[in-house]
């Protein structure tokens, strides 16, 4: 039996980063807004207090902040001919499951994409010719430009109090920042974080090799900060429990530390937790609302005028499929858009091992404490003759010294036993990691659809992920890894071990929670699920937020772009849709 609830004007499904952004913007318009979140209410002082937060077993290894796969997971295979099997435990990516979503336990490395990233197809063809894009690489222009997004990137930077140094202010290149970035309308709201020794070593080596290192843009506070909503954050204390942990110190920008204290006061906002949305209901080309089930198993229908899906990319795509909205992509025929252009991130790196006379103190860390070079990202370098497009940033982040996860040893160390134990002891405080954070370009064979065999706890088919790194990803990543190795060798260690991109893609080791695509944006319903305002082409009162909109995944972390796209969409909704509901772009 389904209970029908009173109708609301705006319904938000999922209350992580984008859910909170949508709620804040829509309540400001005086609309009656409700958010449905499957997980629990969670807040800093009650749930993440500093005397509990720094617990590696509980949070990293018993998944306290992560998705509960017994309710819902996906199946996975590397390529079409294989049998997909369920992701039984989390590994490669770790989405969140409570109020705040994945944003609770992100690192806070807060990047803007390059202007050319949004024109990935036309730009590369213009510069390198038609052959630059292989036939089965399905990258396309995004339908939105950097200049259109810039004001919204700026809004997010200020909401979060991002610490950094601008490299390009209104077209003027600035010393000490990223000279390759798109023009910014203003300086970062906070100065860069104070650096520890490891990133400084990296920066010195990079400079010697002729590169222009700069401090990584960070959502860990470099000083106390009060944002435009009047919410205050505290200086980061470098505790080294950032990624995969909630911050106990109000020092990392999350929805709880930047938006919720202001939003929760507003009388026109309601949050319901323990509400697992199963389907978007539609009639005559409009969403009528959603069906959800509570923790106790009761089913409800929540009607609404507008529906925003903010459930993280994998769940947004799954909800479309479960609701029968749009046609599921078939890589054989190329028909259908839902599930197309799934992409990820190509990670590789090197470890520099030092003698005992240089201590790294890896535990003095923060999620986005680091130095970076951007010479090899996007199209910042000439790709002529290289056999690939795109790139990634190269960085030294000193994030943590948490010893279950972090105990680097040389590659010829025995797997276990006395030799391993001694190597752990000798290298724990004397190793610096350097990484390349590479793009993944979309390919025909990488996609999401529904699994024929496995079902979730609600009886629905599991979503199926088919993904592997393809030729461009591998060639690009190997090129970046060679550059990483050169810098690593210039960092004065006694030994350097290089770890290239691991292929085929393996769903077990953590890589990044930067899944992208599957409900991509574009300029026509024939090549995308949403228009440039992330409005469904099929259902004009349905909006999809998140990295599912990315037609490919550039060489940066996604969240600032996820947020900028959300603000860009909301600005157009406020400007046009609220007065005049309907398609914001004519198909």
């Amino acid at each position: 039996m389904t209970t029908i609830l009173p109708r609301r004007e705006v319904l938000i499904v999922g209350f992580g980063w984008t859910g909170a952004i949508v709620a804040e913007q829509m309540t400001r318009e005086g609309l009656d807004v409700i958010a449905l979140e499957r997980g629990l209410w969670r807040d800093t002082s009650t749930d993440y207090a500093v005397n509990n937060a720094q617990d590696e077993v509980r949070y990293r290894y018993r998944d306290e902040l992560f998705e509960d796969l017994s309710r819902e997971t996906l199946t996975f295979r590397n390529e079409g001919g294989q049998e997909a099997l369920p992701m039984r435990m989390l590994g490669s990516f770790l989405p969140g499951t409570n109020v705040g979503g994945s944003g609770v336990h992100w690192n806070g490395q807060t990047w803007r994409f390059l202007p050319t990233d949004f024109q990935v197809r036309s730009h590369n063809i213009e510069r390198y010719g038609e052959d630059a894009i292989p036939e089965d690489m399905t990258v396309q222009d995004w339908g939105v430009t950097y200049d259109e997004l810039e004001p919204h990137y700026d809004t997010f930077d200020k909401l979060c109090g991002i610490a950094g140094k601008a490299g390009n202010l209104g077209g003027e290149i600035q010393d000490g920042g990223n000279p390759f970035e798109g023009p910014r309308s203003s300086e970062y709201p906070n100065p860069p974080m104070e650096m520890v020794a490891a990133p400084l070593r990296f920066a010195d080596a990079a400079r010697e090799l002729g590169y222009q290192p700069f401090p990584g843009p960070s959502a860990n506070m470099s000083q106390a900060y009060t944002n435009p909503l009047g919410v205050s954050l505290a200086p980061c204390s470098y505790c080294g429990f950032c990624e995969k942990y909630a911050c106990g110190n109000y020092s990392k920008a999350t929805s709880a530390t930047t938006i919720l204290p202001a939003l929760m006061q507003r009388e026109n906002f309601t949050l319901r937790t323990g509400a697992m949305v199963l389907r978007v209901e539609t009639r005559d080309g409009q969403a009528t609302g959603v069906t959800y089930v509570t923790t106790e198993g009761e089913e409800f229908f929540q009607p609404a005028d507008m529906v925003f899906l903010c459930t993280y990319i994998t769940h947004n795509v799954n909800l479309l499929m479960q609701s029968g909205i749009g046609e599921i992509y078939d890589p054989q025929t190329g028909e259908g858009q839902v599930g197309r252009n799934y992409a990820y991130q190509a990670m590789s790196g090197a470890n520099v091992f030092y003698d005992q006379d240089f201590a790294v103190n890896p535990f003095v860390g923060a999620g986005a404490l680091g130095q970076v070079i951007d010479e090899f990202n996007g199209d910042n370098f000439d790709h002529t003759g290289l056999g690939f497009i795109g790139g990634g940033y190269i960085a030294q982040w000193q994030t943590n010294g948490r010893p279950i996860e972090h105990h680097p040893v040389p590659s010829d160390t025995p797997t276990f036993g006395l030799g391993w134990k001694q190597a752990v002891r000798e290298n724990y405080n004397h190793t610096i990691g350097v990484g390349a954070h590479g793009a993944v370009h979309s390919y025909r064979g990488n996609h999401l659809d529904l699994d024929p065999t496995y079902r979730d706890a609600y009886g629905r088919p599991l979503m199926r992920l088919t993904f592997d790194f393809k030729q461009n990803d591998i060639a690009m990543s190997n090129y970046l890894t060679d550059r990483v190795a050169e810098i690593a060798r210039a960092m004065g260690g006694r030994r350097v071990d290089v770890s290239p991109l691991k292929t085929p893609y393996d769903i077990t080791p953590y890589q990044t929670t930067h899944n992208t695509g599957g409900h991509i944006m574009g300029d026509s319903p024939s090549n995308s699920v949403t228009n440039k305002y992330n409005q469904s082409w099929d259902i004009s009162n349905l909006f999809l937020m998140g990295a599912g909109n990315f037609p490919h995944n550039p060489g940066y972390n996604p969240t600032a772009t996820v947020a900028a796209l959300a603000y860009h969409s909301l600005a157009e909704i406020k400007r046009s849709y609220l007065q005049n509901p309907g398609p914001l772009v004519q198909a």
Binding site: T3, L40, W41, D43, S45, T46, D47, A49, N52, A53, D55, E56, R58, Y61, D63, L69, S70, F76, R77, N78, Q82, L85, M87, R88, M89, E194, V196, S237, Y238, C239, G240, G248, L260, Q265, E267, F269, T270, R272, T273, G274, A275, T295, D357, A359, N361, F363, V364, G401, P403, I404, H407, T415, F416, G417, K421, R425, Y428, R455, I507, T508
Partner: protein, 233 residues
């Protein structure tokens, strides 16, 4: 029936119970209760899973994975107690893992495809011991250190075929759990007296390192702290 930990947490954090429509509805402010905080789950040494023989097997195995030298071995730091307790609870049961069938052997890239961890240990230990018996060899705990290492190495390389479960999955899980017990917070029964942290000079659950940002490559050596404070079981 035992209430799952998550259901229990959901219960305690329930703020405003309104109509049936919305078991948990929040409006008009940040919900906050004095004294509400979520400490780590308590370690209960009596809440255990292993049989005596399984315990002996795991003790021998983890002491080959992390043997004693100038610093304690895995079992000396309580790793067996840690694993035993973990397998008796939500982790062992696989409460938050996807545990629906069919179970099939996957490709290496498809990750964990075994039954829940507690059952994995039970099946694997029985199969390994049976395999040794069938080959006319002594039980695992009776083998010399080199022979034990050989068995573990064969498991780790997936060169052993077990009747009921996957050898490499067992090895990977055992090795992972051993490191969790050795290096994890002592509130879970392992890393006794924070000895593993002292071995590498990890200061534990401290939260403010600002005085040491500018350490200039000098080792920062601080007494470690547990989430349970300095006093540990």
């Amino acid at each position: 029936m035992q209430m799952s930990r998550r259901a229990f947490l959901a219960g305690v954090s329930t703020f405003a119970l309104t109509a049936a429509a919305s078991a948990r509805e929040y409006r008009g402010g940040i919900p906050w209760h004095p004294g509400a905080s979520l400490p780590p789950p308590a370690f209960d040494p009596d809440d255990v899973y292993f049989t005596a023989e399984e315990r002996a097997f795991v003790t021998a195995a983890v002491d080959r994975l992390i043997p004693a030298d100038d610093f304690p071995s895995a079992s000396e730091l309580g790793v067996v107690d840690f694993i035993d307790h973990q397998l008796a609870g939500a982790y062992g049961r696989g409460d938050i893992y996807y545990m629906q069938g069919p179970f099939r052997d996957g490709l290496a890239t498809q990750g964990y495809q075994a039954q829940a961890p507690a059952l994995l240990y039970r099946q694997a230990i029985a199969d390994i011991r049976q395999g040794l018996a069938d080959a006319g060899q002594p039980d695992f705990v009776e083998l010399g250190p080199e022979e034990q290492d050989l068995v573990l190495t064969r498991l780790s390389e997936g060169r052993e075929t077990l009747a009921h479960t996957d050898a490499k999955t067992f090895f990977d899980t055992l090795w992972q759990n051993t490191q969790e017990g050795y290096f994890g917070d002592p509130v879970y029964g392992g890393n006794r007296n924070m000895e593993a942290w002292r071995m590498i000079n990890f200061p534990g659950a401290r939260y403010d390192y600002r005085p040491w940002i500018d350490h200039g490559g000098e080792a920062v050596i601080l007494e470690p702290v547990s989430v349970g404070g300095r006093m540990v079981p």
